[in-house]
């Protein structure tokens, strides 16, 4: 979807909520994967995704999209809402972190030993990732989902330079945590 198409869709959806559907289908994967990556629970992520779009549709008539290069600011606005919904959920249920990425291990080619090793490594990675700050997790996750430094900065309310240094420090911290874990085992 190019920026002008998106602007037209936004303008239509601002007048008629049902016209939001193409925007919804375009962005639901992005929002869902962000919510799942942060909440690590499919039920919570499903609710957070729904809530994000409900809030977006509710606020859309007052939203003023802008062009930025070959994109609009809609994606970062939507992800800002998603982040607030996720943070709200994490505040309400700080212990409700249930890892749910079991689908990733479902490889028909892996034997029992490989599966066990992969599961151990995956647990180490996820544990280390969860020990990063909220901001560090957000920067890594949003970058992996293809958002630019400028967009991530907008979502988190920090400069593009701060996004890059946060990303760098997050990776260094991940490496330290994994090394510590490796030395312990």
């Amino acid at each position: 979807m190019n920026a002008n198409d998106e602007l037209r869709l936004i303008a239509r959806a601002q007048k008629k909520p049902a016209a939001f559907e193409p925007l919804y289908h375009h962005y639901v994967h992005l929002v869902w994967n962000y919510c799942l990556g942060r909440l690590r629970d499919r039920t919570l992520a499903e609710d957070a995704t729904s809530t994000t779009f409900m809030k977006a549709m509710d606020a859309l008539p007052r939203y003023r999209p802008q062009l930025r290069g070959d994109q609009t600011t809609f994606r970062s606005w939507l992800m800002m809402i998603a982040r607030n919904v996720v943070l709200d959920e994490l505040r309400r249920r700080p212990m409700a972190v249930v890892d749910d990425h079991s689908h990733i291990l479902a490889s028909p080619l892996a034997g029992p030993e490989q599966i066990a090793l992969a599961r151990d490594r995956r647990e180490q990675l996820l544990t280390a990732f969860s020990q990063l700050s909220d901001q560090q997790q957000d920067v890594i996750r949003l970058r992996q989902q293809g958002l630019s430094g400028e967009e991530i900065g907008e979502i988190l309310g920090i400069s593009t330079g701060a996004v890059k240094s946060t990303h760098y420090r997050a990776v260094q911290r991940l490496r330290e945590l994994l090394q510590e874990k490796g030395e312990q085992s």
Binding site: N33, Y63, E89, I140, R143, Y168
Partner: protein, 66 residues
Amino acid sequence: MTDTESSSLFEYALSDRSPVNEDEEILMELHSTLGMSRPPATLLRFPPPNASQTGNGSSMPLLPPR
């Protein structure tokens, strides 16, 4: 940390280059671990289900318009 180091690692995050150092390998491994998954069927229909129907509605106020 130099700007060049942080920038190159950041730009690597979604590039398709082979990893050239340990940090990039960790990022690549984390990317495949966190993965991307298809939303559940309930989210593939529009409008999405109301989260309050499952009792998990968020209390976060709406963002101010930009």
